[in-house]
């Protein structure tokens, strides 16, 4: 790679350039900023304004934030903010969805062995062949569909990157994409990066059913894709076969693609998980996204994938090659081992999580929350209004500081935050002791307003 020293511009030559160019290089002008949609935890949780005397002595005064206009609203994620506050206040973290227990030994051992075997250089861009095969095999087991691992499976750095690559690879500026709110926060951000027009359809309690009439009116000739997350974060809703059938026929009729985020597919408790791609006529217009992290309690490994027909995989791979180029090599080898786990692994996973869910749900009901039924994922959403706080953000702030438990305010997952102000999300991907301790703290310190 060229070293800067090979450039023949000398500093005196640079100074001869027109004054305004020099001025531009010397001083960075500020750009306008719109107001943040995120709650004001920033004063205590921000990584930008963390005071540091040494930095103040060696740096110039802080400059205003630089950000591309279409992404100005995306600040530090709510998950980061809440996790930092949890640490600061010694609160039990039932907010961000990562387990406080480790993944299975056999998968960790496979990663260690891969490192020792020297599998530490760049992997093939779209995935280590063995992992592509393992994904295809698993997909066949789950959906009955046979796919070509070389042409229809693409490995990415987590499902987060699968989402980014799918949006950036297949959506053009101005395309309409329909989301169901509440939605995982990276959807809106990556759609904004792609220049899409976002249409949001709100799922409402108590059962978060899809409002079909609203969906039918939302689809237009400009609709390029619908994004479905099932099992659904944060509500735990699972899209029923009837819902998926109606959506499928709308997509076929209007030539609309479907992007499905199915990372919680193995945490389906109340009904079987259904992949949209398995419905008649849908595989050819569906990108199915998934990952290792939730199923195997290895959320930090960042191994994800897409399964899609070749004419859609092409765009995903193009974008992926400019986002990360290749995915962590030793972890891919280990992921292939993980995906070949026997059925007993998945059965035990569901049993464990069912027990955890029972502890949390019964506990939350006893505390006085209105708990909405969650069929899948490791989340439940609850109505916090019995406790008299003005909105979800105020409630979560109170919960951390006065009770010592972290939940996530759901309003950040809506295009219209008002729609989520009564709801907060708890996770049960923690060991049973932690869940019980959190419930005890809430029973002791959280009292419904009479």
């Amino acid at each position: 790679m060229m070293q800067l020293s090979q450039c023949t511009w000398t500093f005196p030559e640079l100074l001869k350039r027109p004054a305004f160019l020099r001025r531009s290089i010397d001083s960075i002008s500020s750009r306008s900023r719109s107001s943040s949609k995120y709650p004001s935890f920033m004063a205590s949780a921000s990584t930008v304004s963390a005071p540091n005397t040494e930095a103040e002595q060696t740096h110039n005064p802080p400059q205003p934030l630089q950000v591309a206009k279409r992404l100005e609203k995306f600040k530090t994620t709510i998950f980061t903010q809440m996790s930092m506050l949890a640490i600061k206040h010694g609160a039990i973290n039932l907010g961000q969805g990562f387990p406080n227990f480790d993944g299975p030994e056999f998968v960790k051992e496979a990663a260690i062995q891969a490192i020792k075997d020297g599998k530490n250089q760049y992997a093939r861009g779209y995935g280590v062949p063995d992992l592509n095969s393992a994904v295809a095999d698993r997909f066949k087991k789950d959906t009955g569909l046979v796919v070509d691992p070389e042409k229809e499976v693409t490995v990415t750095s987590g499902c987060t990157e699968a989402i980014a690559a799918t949006m950036l690879g297949l959506i053009n500026p101005g395309d309409e994409v329909i989301l169901f709110a509440p939605f995982y926060d990276s959807y809106e951000a990556t759609l904004s990066m792609a220049g899409a027009q976002i249409k949001s359809i709100t799922l409402r309690p108590p059962d978060f059913a899809v409002p079909m009439d609203e969906l039918k009116s939302a689809i237009s000739k400009n609709t390029r894709a619908i994004l479905i997350n099932t099992p659904h974060n944060p509500t735990g809703k699972m899209f029923t076969r009837e819902e998926l059938n109606v959506i499928a026929s709308l997509c076929i009729e209007n030539d609309v693609l479907v992007f499905t985020d199915e990372v919680y597919d193995k945490l389906a408790f109340e009904m079987d998980h259904i992949s949209m791609a398995s419905l008649p006529g849908m595989y050819e217009r569906t990108v199915t996204m998934n990952s290792l992290g939730k199923t195997f309690s290895l959320t930090g490994w960042k191994i994800g994938w897409t399964v899609a027909p070749p004419h859609l995989t092409w765009g995903v791979r193009q974008a992926h090659s400019f986002l990360t180029f290749a995915t962590c090599t030793p972890m891919q080898w280990a992921a292939a081992t993980a995906l070949r786990a026997p059925d007993s692994y998945y059965e035990e996973l569901k049993r464990d999580y069912s027990a955890k869910k029972a502890i949390l749900v019964e506990g939350l009901k006893a505390v006085g929350f209105r708990v909405y039924p969650s069929s899948g994922t490791y989340f439940v959403v609850v109505d916090h209004t019995p406790f008299g706080l003005k909105d979800d953000i105020a409630f979560c702030e109170y919960l951390i500081k006065e009770v010592g438990v972290v939940a996530i305010p759901t309003s950040v997952f809506y295009l219209h935050p008002e729609d989520g102000k009564n709801l907060v999300r708890f996770t049960f991907c923690k060991d049973e002791g932690t869940l019980r301790a959190a419930v005890e703290r809430m029973k002791e310190k959280l009292k419904p307003k009479q």
Partner: protein, 278 residues
């Protein structure tokens, strides 16, 4: 940064850990580029830069470095700032330097996908925010491992540098010996960008195809690193045929591999030792 460059950066505010340098670049581009913004690249340049900028809606503007020493003509860069941007409404210019960090290449774990972006806090903050929406985080166990790697004593890297210098010298001697034109020893990276022998009438792509078929040696055609800009009022048509005359060879390989490559290439040399792949 302090040790290598004498720079005091604040670890809390000035650094974004990303999933490899590719993603650090992508996060920076998406964080800072609005559709229509221009980004100046110096050609030859790594292929993903232009692709990523285009994906973000930006416009890559390439300034050709001049062979054979890849020097920069200040007038070309000046023209790039003005010729492309007809309204002369440049709000600001940000400079992005991509550094193949010697320590990460030194520990030879390119497949671990840990990289970073360092910038003033106002920019690093945005890069972090966008990075979390692209991949969320770099692989957690390897972030820990890289901490260890960055604390390896300098003696290890001195030995490593010496080792790579030998590999570089070996491959240059081998390539020059069969007629490739190498005007200078690369001062960094793990690549040699060698010009095809004058007698070789093949393009870079044709040469690579023959090299694979006949000699069993693979390299990368240089044309992929050039992005030809159309001629303009102020830019006369230039002879750009050189852009199909370069081959990039990597020498980050074991001595055995380099020796095997040398042997295979020697097998396709004529009596004078000149390459005869047609």
């Amino acid at each position: 940064m302090k040790e290598m460059h004498g720079l005091d950066v604040d670890p809390l505010t000035d650094i974004a850990i990303c999933s490899g340098q590719t993603e650090a670049f992508a996060a920076a581009v998406f964080a800072l580029i609005d559709p229509g913004d221009e980004v100046i690249l110096f050609d030859p340049s790594y292929e993903t830069y232009g692709g990523c900028i285009t994906m973000a809606g930006g416009i890559p503007v390439c300034v050709d470095l001049d062979p054979p020493h890849w020097t920069s003509d200040p007038n070309k860069a000046y023209e790039a700032f003005y010729c492309q941007n007809k309204s002369y409404n440049i709000e600001q210019v940000l400079v992005c330097i991509i550094n193949y960090h010697r320590k990460l290449y030194g520990i030879k774990t390119a497949g671990w996908r840990v990289g970073w972006a360092i910038a003033s806090a106002c920019i690093a903050s945005t890069i972090r925010n966008i990075h979390t929406r692209i991949t969320d985080c770099a692989p957690a166990p390897f972030q820990e491992a890289v901490v260890t790697a960055l604390r390896i004593p300098p003696e290890y890297f001195e030995l490593l540098r010496s080792d790579y210098e030998s590999k570089r010298d070996f491959i240059i001697k081998m390539l020059a010996g069969v007629g490739f034109r190498i005007q200078f020893k690369p001062q960094g990276s793990v690549f040699v960008f060698a010009e095809l022998p004058e007698s070789c009438l093949l393009s870079d792509v044709e040469f690579i195809k023959e090299s694979i078929k006949q000699a069993g040696v693979v390299a990368v055609p240089g044309c992929r690193f050039f992005h030809t800009m159309p001629p303009s009022d102020k830019r006369p048509p230039a002879d750009l045929s050189y852009q199909q005359r370069y081959i990039r060879f990597a020498f980050c390989k074991s001595d055995a591999t380099l020796a095997a490559a040398a042997q295979k290439i020697a097998g396709f040399s004529d009596a004078r030792g000149r390459l005869k792949l047609f």
